[in-house]
Symmetry: C2
DNA sequence: CCTTAACACTTGTATATACAATAAAAGTAC
DNA sequence: GTACTTTTATTGTATATACAAGTGTTAAGG
């Protein structure tokens, strides 16, 4: 849907402003969609993000800074996020032997299983996307957004 | 910068997943930038958004539902957001005569002046964008994101 | 009228988030 | 070794947010 309709706006200052709002709005829109789905699994999208990061590095554990660097939203509080996931048994944390300031955080079997369960659910989301945009178009988006953040 | 570098990620499942994360990440990135700037004016980006919406409709007042429909993040609490802005004297609210359930919300002179002060600041942001992407490229982004949300 | 439903907004509450302050460990310089 | 700095993580606090429940107002049906 056109951004003008979404925001009931008649016009924007120029195409650059429109693009800024469009990217923020669409990002939000995707986020909300994802969050809705994850809620049924009692996960926030940030928590899901952390789990995926840990799976990505598994079996190598990560410490908090590593996770923070890889997170979508750097500002959020990694300590408390990780603690929530630990309480659910989705990851473990232990003090690092060589450097006791650090903690080693690792996804558990249970965490892996949960992600495995979620994979096809998220896959369905991608299929929705596939219907709307060709691979070439998606590549264009990726390329232009990377360029924008240069 | 490439998303892989931003997120210290070596690979994504496919270009579709990469695009999803890219849009969310870039949206966030733009949001954070904006928030930083607005903080100096003691405004959150949501508050700024509401003010711009009111300026857009000025001199016609809007009620809460109107505002909510036009907001980037529909989930947020319009009542309290508007109340914050009222306390700062940036807008007024009065009960609607014809339908006392509604409130009429209008931007004040002070609000207009604040936006006017912010216009060139935000403009600078657009100029940054202009340097990185051509109008044609920006149009492509707009077109593809609109298509994505269809 | 009276009852019930729909509407527009407000409030309560639990949770999340941002940012600063603090703590503890490790590294560095003397 | 002692003082200073940097690294890494945790905690405190104020604010924001999501969602549900509540309030007052209007509309609709009998």
């Amino acid at each position: 849907m056109k951004l003008e309709e979404e925001l009931k706006q008649t016009r924007f200052k120029d195409e650059y402003q429109r693009a800024m709002l469009n990217i923020i709005f669409t990002g939000n829109w995707l986020e909300v969609w994802t969050s809705q789905v994850l809620k049924q699994y009692d996960l926030s999208s940030q928590q899901f993000n952390v789990l995926r990061i840990l799976r990505g590095s598994s079996p190598r554990p990560l410490n908090l800074l590593d996770i923070q660097e890889r997170m979508m939203d750097r500002m959020s509080n990694a300590t408390r996020l990780v603690e929530k996931l630990r309480q659910k048994g989705l990851l473990t944390r232990k003090q690092c032997d060589s450097n006791r300031r650090k903690v080693e955080i690792e996804i558990t079997e249970k965490g892996q299983a949960l992600l495995k369960e979620l994979d096809p659910v998220m896959e369905k989301n991608h299929l929705e996307l596939t219907k709307k945009l060709t691979v070439a178009e998606v590549n264009t988006i990726n390329e232009l957004l990377d360029k924008l953040r240069d």
